[in-house]
Symmetry: C2
Subunit: 341 residues, 2 copies
């Protein structure tokens, strides 16, 4: 069977997502999805002296938990794929240096969970790795320092701004096993429609999600109704409206199946999070805490996971550049095959 279909890829031997884990901070635990995460950590600093070390600790412990659930020792993993938002992806490299697992560093901003799951699935399906892990994280306080203002400055947030989640998701992939399975993937293309407001990332990322979802549906000859859920992350409340509108213009109505991780994480009014959640850990933890258990049990038969990333840096925004967006897609299914893809 040909693996390439158009610009998408199908996996004749779908890798199994053997285990998954999620850890979040207190604010995320107080949100509507609080019940679904493996652990809610009440100490923002995770017992460390700096925010950056706290995020590394969060990512490290989430991967440890996913490994524990898989029953594997780190030593039998052939590869771990990871990335984060912080400069030079140090949350990941410092989190993972203790494990001794061959490591591929990724940068996909908030799309990293999808990029890691996508790339890891291809490495397993291709016979290059028997077992691989993907992990990502974000932390409110590291991201604020990195991209916006020092926390103690107390800057006002604009209505379109999103709240970076303190959260991490990790999963372990194997060649064979039970559901969930990865049936197909679509690598994102950079889309940039000229948004220059770093406080409106939903608008910057929505065109990328629309492009990737439209390509995958077209390549596979499937309709939104073939999926129980079409999940983006993390467009937030504003980007959610935009991605539906952009796809509507192409005659694709995803509204009945569509859910966005950024819009799901918080109760925007009660929690004062404006346009919703964001950060690599937002889509990562919601995939691993909320969606994958449902696919495993079969209550979601098939879903598209299209995490989105805004590929900006503060410096390039200050230089007047617009914000490129990207969205990678993974087709996750309860059944190993059903003839539709």
């Amino acid at each position: 069977m040909e693996k390439r279909i158009g610009s998408s890829i199908r996996l004749p031997h779908p890798p199994s997502i053997r285990s998954f884990a999620s850890i979040v901070g207190q604010k995320e635990g107080d949100g509507p999805l609080g019940h679904c995460f493996d652990r809610i950590e009440l100490r923002d600093d995770f017992g460390e002296k700096t925010w950056e070390k706290a995020e590394s600790r969060l990512q490290c412990e989430t991967l440890q938990l996913a490994l524990r659930k898989s029953g594997f020792d780190a030593a039998v993993l052939d590869c771990v794929l990871a990335g984060d938002l912080i400069n030079q992806c140090t949350s990941s490299s410092f989190a993972l240096r203790e494990f001794g697992i061959p490591f591929l560093g990724l940068y996909g901003a908030c799309s990293t969970m999808a990029e890691g799951l996508l790339t890891g699935s291809l490495l397993v399906e291709g016979g290059f790795c028997k077992r691989a892990a993907a992990v990502t994280s974000s932390h409110f306080s590291t991201a604020e320092r990195q991209f916006r203002f020092p926390l103690s400055y107390g800057g006002q947030r604009t209505p379109t701004s999103q709240w970076t989640c303190t959260a991490s998701g990790a999963l372990v992939l194997t060649e064979s096993g039970g559901p969930p399975y990865v049936r197909g993937v679509c690598i994102g293309r950079i889309q940039d429609l000229g948004i220059t407001d770093a406080n409106n990332m939903g608008a910057a990322m929505a065109p990328a999600a629309a492009d990737t979802i439209a390509r995958y549906l077209s390549d596979t000859g499937t309709q939104p109704s073939d999926y129980d859920a079409i999940v983006t992350g993390d467009l937030g409340n504003i980007g959610t409206k935009l991605v539906r509108m952009l796809l509507q213009q192409e005659g694709i109505d995803i509204a009945p199946q569509h859910q966005d991780c950024g819009a799901m994480m918080f109760d925007a009014d009660a929690q004062d999070t404006h346009a919703g959640g964001s950060g690599c850990g937002c889509a990562g933890s919601i995939l691993c805490g909320h969606f994958l258990p449902q696919v495993q049990q079969g209550s979601i038969r098939r879903m598209l996971f299209a995490a989105t990333g805004a590929l900006l840096s503060p410096m390039i925004v200050q230089q007047g550049e617009s914000i490129p967006g990207i969205s990678h897609l993974v087709d996750i299914s309860f059944a190993k095959e059903d003839g539709t893809c």
Copy 2:
């Protein structure tokens, strides 16, 4: 044939490196390898208003040149893998947003050329991509601003410091074609022996190169003498001595075959570059400008390319952390097969 051998991977259907290109700045062009690069650009700013935009332009034009040599239009590429040193890898995402090619962002610091070539080769060998590209870049002025001091500050450089190259390398991989071929790869493991001096990156990266090279030789049952060249990049003059010493302690003598891109780029005395060159573009441009043409012609029959990266950020170094290193390895050959791997 089993693709996994130990912690290494062999490629039964070796992808072909169809084309490769390199562009460097004036200082690199003035060095001992100046004759081998496709283009020496005399304007440090590449005609752009900021150093960051200059680096994006450099990377963009190097990929364009590799594409032109391949005879392919960007539209037929299934994937491009890229990364760089600058915050949030914006040199890559801004360089590539015009191409419309599905994009996987990587972060491997100065090991990025090897990480991109490695991952791209697996995607092609696995049948997931028919054609893929890998590209990376670095720029002296963006890196100084990012990691050290503003240029106008005129900070003194320590004897162990390396000079970030203004350079870029790009290549195009295809399923079939002529040499060079990618015969095997080894994904790096993070190594951290406690170096905390951000001006001594050669020492921080040498253990990672030693670990990866030793694993690959052991997994494949090969000796240093089975290769015409064992190339690290970019350990510089200090890291070069260390990697040989570390391998010597394991009974492996790579000295007769070993060359290091960081030590090759400049005439250290005449060009005042202290411990040598560094930056993603150092190993990237020397692979594409100096080594791949020799493998294509058969004057190098087989080589190991083990680019090295220091996974540091200024912030985490200021917090007193040591510097994790990584090295990814690619086994590049004139012959498609010869029974040794």
